[in-house]
Symmetry: D3
Subunit: 155 residues, 6 copies
């Protein structure tokens, strides 16, 4: 195995996917943002219970999935069939799950991982005035299906 | 304290910073991507020792810092005085540090955190063909100075 | 019927179109910007009769159609086969018609409506120094064809 | 008076604002989207009362305000101090008000008008599956203050 | 002298301009696209004499100037006071001149050069169906003033 | 032959490609940036021999190829199968070659030409502190294949 994003001289390029079939593909990525329990309480209560904070993070994740090829230099631009961002508040954290599907020649792992990252950053932004010590943790590919390389599930 | 990004009705808005002075501000964010030692070995050796992989991730981080207000819904657009992304390969991980400065009315925490996230995602992208189990960990604000709220250093 | 852009919990998501066939689709949207007759006169006469004002608005509309998925949070990114923006000056107004076609899994209503909106905003921008009271009116879907839901024509 | 966005030859250009002072400026724009009363009912009731539909439109308006210089060809890029998008559901319509402030050399009318347009388009997008006949109406500048040309209030 | 965009280790970074004063700066860049005389004839005659082809290229140049920091990785984002793109058709070529001004901490050479490049590319695009052999030539900085390094004029 | 990007009235539009088959297409564009030999020496030697300068320019070219439809007003947005940017330092210049492939309804000449332009501009940016007189020369289409109009090779 080699790093496919480098050519024989070690130079970055966007790899050729023209020989790959356009098949239905799916990727699920997960991650979390850890915060003070009081911060989470503040998000979940108040004037807009579970309101605009979570909605804004969901929208940020969905929109970032569409910008993936603009953020990640060697990513192929591609159409997306669906994007879902789920936020599960839990004690001292919000667990983030992004699910992306496409019918195309490349997988959508990067789109799912980018959606999780943007949702986490947005939650940080919205709560940073009360909790600067939040941490974004454990962003990873959880599941991948479709394409020649077969299914993948995180251990 | 309250969530400043929500108004009294709980609706998201971009908070008014017109009363804040334009001062010199700095933020440092850190994070890491964990990988198989062999994956790191592959990045550091070969045709382009420490070559385009790390350079591409640095560029991705710098460019993402400039896109922060486009990725994070309630972030203020602002000029940046400098952006640096440092990558420190170490055993089974690459530690990422982004430093951003501005002279402006708002801090640049989100720019630094976004740069770290984009660099990490780019490293994932470039190595995913050989190591799908990589994880992005511990993205947080490490240091912040300038502005009315005083200095901050991660515990 | 339900709001398809919300899931069962009421959360926004980008709906799954992977089961929809890629067919030829067309959408026509219309709208107008109302202005003082003297403002319209100024656009149509002078050094560049019907010149750069209308050309700039046409270009703005076409380029905005391509940015639709970046402006409308839950819109699917898609390729466009053609975009036309027609401007018909008339007495105290400029009527705007945008026609967009694609071969894809989703309709292009939003692209056509976005093109009309951007052309209208651009006309406002170019003439605001002489006429701040201009109004953008009656932006709507005029015609839609292709796709499972059949043809639509405005009443 | 002349169209300032055209030079003496009638060619479009971005006008020189370097002689204008950076002062505090504010603009308020308004507009509405007209819909079937049942459509509005659907937005306001259900699983997410007043939930993600309105939040998504607010976010879209705020983000579009930041993209104004990218959508309107001759607009100056500028920093924004605040952006607020208010949505007032009312019988057969949602009234949209966007308020934008800056400290800069140019006004923010176009940012406010663009925010209203994007919020309206997003509401159309989210409800189009149940009501294709919605119309966007009466987008105009409602108030403007700051800058050399003095205050403006819609008649 | 050294390459300021690299740090001591040779790594790319966005250089720190926070110590530089915000002064009025100007840059003029020039270039040309060479074509068959018949191609130029086609642009200048016909239904829209000197019409939308030149207007479209001017708009493309102006809009690209605003996107410079998004296209050139280490460019600082900055506000622009004015952008002008002049097109001078001449025999077998169109000479392109872009003039950009700002009041800021960095020069606007890259914005002017990017405007020339985008205008040239747009002319290529609009005429490529009749003349694939066009060439873009001699893009360079023609004049620069403002800032600590003094005036520059091309030899 | 006529300028396809204008309609019968001379107005710019995005031409309809819905009748064109989605075939495999390739375009190669070339160009060069001319500089002082000492400038080239500085790029090739030093702390990062052939390091981040060339890598940054490659990345800029690849990312710009993906932004082509956002930079060139009448370009169709399309997926790209591969993008490669090669930089050949040589005496007093760096020769730039960009190769782009797609499976789509339109050619990718503009993507290849845009990649060359952005790589050249980035090299200018990174070296301008030591050599303001650099010139970008001879950007042209070198090869094109696929599509109805047959192969093209520069004379």
């Amino acid at each position: 195995p080699a790093l496919t994003h480098l050519d024989a001289a070690g130079h970055a390029h966007m790899v050729d996917v023209s020989a790959k079939a356009a098949t239905r593909r799916k990727a699920v990525a997960t991650g979390a943002i850890i915060m003070q329990p009081q911060t989470l309480e503040m998000i979940l209560s108040g004037a807009a219970p579970k309101g605009d904070v979570l909605a804004t993070a969901r929208i940020a994740g969905i929109m970032a999935a569409k910008k993936t090829a603009d953020i990640i230099p060697l990513c192929h631009p591609l159409s997306l069939s669906s994007v879902t961002v789920d936020l599960a508040p839990n004690d001292n954290r919000i667990e983030i799950t992004a699910t992306v599907t496409t019918t195309g020649a490349t997988g959508v792992e990067m789109e799912a991982l980018t959606a999780v990252s943007a949702a986490a950053l947005t939650l940080y932004d919205m709560c940073k005035a009360v909790d600067r010590g939040m941490q974004i943790e454990n962003i990873k590919l959880f599941h991948k299906s479709g394409g020649r390389s077969g299914d993948y599930n995180a251990a």
